[in-house]
Amino acid sequence: MTVLEFEKPILEIQKKIDEFKKMSMESGMDFNGEIESLEKQANEIKKEMYESLKPSQKLQIARHSERPNFLDYTHMMCENFIELHGDREGADDRAIIGGLATIAGRNVVLIGTQKGKSTKENLEYNFGMPQPQGYRKALRLFKHAEKFKLPIITLIDTPGAYPGITAEQTGQGIAIAVNLREMSKLTVPVIAVITGEGCSGGALGLAVANRVFMLEYAYYTVISPEGCASILWRDAAKAADAADALKITADDLLKYGIIDGKIKEPLGGAHTNPQDMSDRLKNALIGALEELDSYSPDELKAQRYSKFRGMGVFNE
């Protein structure tokens, strides 16, 4: 497993623990006291460290190559998942996957951006960067959900919509804009979760929801810190500064009312215990579904509209 730079102190202690264990095995001597104390120490450092991560460190966890992806959650969380392919117009963008899902006995339409873990997978899923056709597939599934009164859940982990030639030719901007508008008209519950990267319009195109959650170390921003740094600081190396300035973490966005909740990750991040993360995510989703059950279709639409209508800070 990839170890991030700031995780190295913990790795050092872990090595020590392993040495004692080995010695204990080889010599038959009892180092249990030492081991226990070191483990306690490691855990405390870990806790402290993960509670005071800088935005740029959270960013690294959000982008961790072994972070659970959409299909991982689907497999861990759903009793059944039937993928529905394609935009019915010529493409099945693999960067956005969607289908019928049963979660804790409830039927929903589940849609998300999909990232790979290997080079092969990354190519298949285009690094989680959708084309316009992916947004149009999502729109088709939104409308399917609306027709059959199924709640919609979206899981978002994308560095953004793909910036490419055919993406421009086939209307990347229009595709996202249409989703924003059409999501606002839905009368079923819509729940969006930023599970990793939530970058710009490419993320927002699936996130006009009644409830928007973020995993603890996910980030959500109008532009990647690198992009922001290279424009405003004219130096991409200032990405950490930009990450601070942009207020991209779950805590920040909760404070500004951009999101409705933060879903805690296992200590060390989602990738250290995917099943635990999946259970936490599932619980949050079930809770939100139950909460939204008390709304009528018209109320769901009105709640979503007024939520986004109210976004923004200005003087008047």
């Binding site: 919509a161 229009i174 996202i176 924003l180 508008r181 951009i258």
Partner: protein, 288 residues
């Protein structure tokens, strides 16, 4: 000159452009003449002004500000500004190489505008409409909370008054200094277009040089009718970002109004000189 030559020349011209524009503003001693940044012919500034800031030689459409745009499009004195009282603040205490607050002040003193959009109502050849007119000179026409709020308010006004809505865009995209709050303006304005839809209000986009990013991915492309001004550059991602991503160079006409017409994304391309008539025609033909 073939269309290819034209685009090639235009591309070269873009490099000289900022320089030239700076000169036009900064040379202290105002000259009567200027060199066209596109065809490089010497033209009289008065002729350029007279010709709606379109080069009389090569038809290059210079970017114009919101005030000029209003004068060109609306019937005399018919435009009444609304929501001017909505003014920017700095919710995130954003500082890059310069504090956001200072950037806002500079933009204000440079343009004498309160924000990157002017909203209001007026008549075009007798047709009463609500309108939002963006101004690139104010922080690159970027959309923060104020732009989003003013655009939303004027759309709500269109619904209330049952009059058509026209959005004239010129913007680099989102206002980075407002981060996620800026991103949310895309959702907010798109939701407002949903309300126009449901009320059966005719909504027209006029895309002018340049319209990018968060604007094309929100209210900027949701019009029932999309008109693009001749030669305007319009896209989702910036040219440089795309070139870096795909590691190849792009065709010269990439992301021009004409390119987008070919790829089915705009209804109508209009010369600046014909825009007022075309808008009036489109309004007439919808019986509004």
């Amino acid at each position: 000159m073939t269309i290819q030559d034209w685009f090639e020349k235009r591309k070269e011209a873009q490099i000289r452009r900022r320089e030239a524009e700076k000169h036009m503003e900064d040379d202290g001693q105002p000259s009567l003449w200027t060199k066209c940044i596109h065809c490089e012919n010497q033209i009289l500034k008065a002729d350029l002004e007279e010709n709606m800031m379109v080069c009389p030689v090569c038809e290059y459409h210079y970017r114009i500000n919101a005030t000029k745009r209003i004068k060109l499009l609306f019937d005399n004195d018919s435009f009444v500004e609304r929501f001017k009282n909505i003014k920017p603040t700095d919710p995130l205490d954003f500082v890059d190489t310069e504090p956001y607050k200072e950037r806002l002040e500079k933009a204000h003193s440079k343009t004498n505008l309160d924000e990157a959009v002017i909203t209001g109502t007026g008549t075009i050849k007798g047709h009463r409409v609500a309108a939002a007119i963006m101004d690139f000179d104010y922080m690159g026409g970027s959309m923060g909370s104020v732009v989003g709020e003013k655009v939303t308010r004027i759309m709500e006004e269109a619904v209330k008054q049952k009059i058509p809505m026209i959005a004239i865009t010129s913007s680099g995209g989102a206002r980075m200094q407002e981060s996620a709050l800026s991103l949310m303006q895309m959702a907010k304005t798109s939701c407002a277009v949903g309300k126009l839809d449901e009320a059966g209000i005719l909504y027209i986009n006029v895309l002018t040089e340049p319209t990018f990013g968060g604007i094309t991915a929100s209210f900027g492309t949701l019009g029932d009718i999309i008109i693009a001004e001749q030669g305007a550059r319009i896209g989702f991602a910036g040219r440089r970002v795309i070139e870096q991503t795909i590691r190849q160079s792009l065709p010269a006409d990439f992301q021009t109004a004409e390119y987008l017409l070919k790829y089915g994304q705009v209804d109508i391309i209009s010369k600046r000189s014909e825009l007022r008539d075309k808008l009036a025609d489109v309004l007439s033909m919808h019986g509004v």
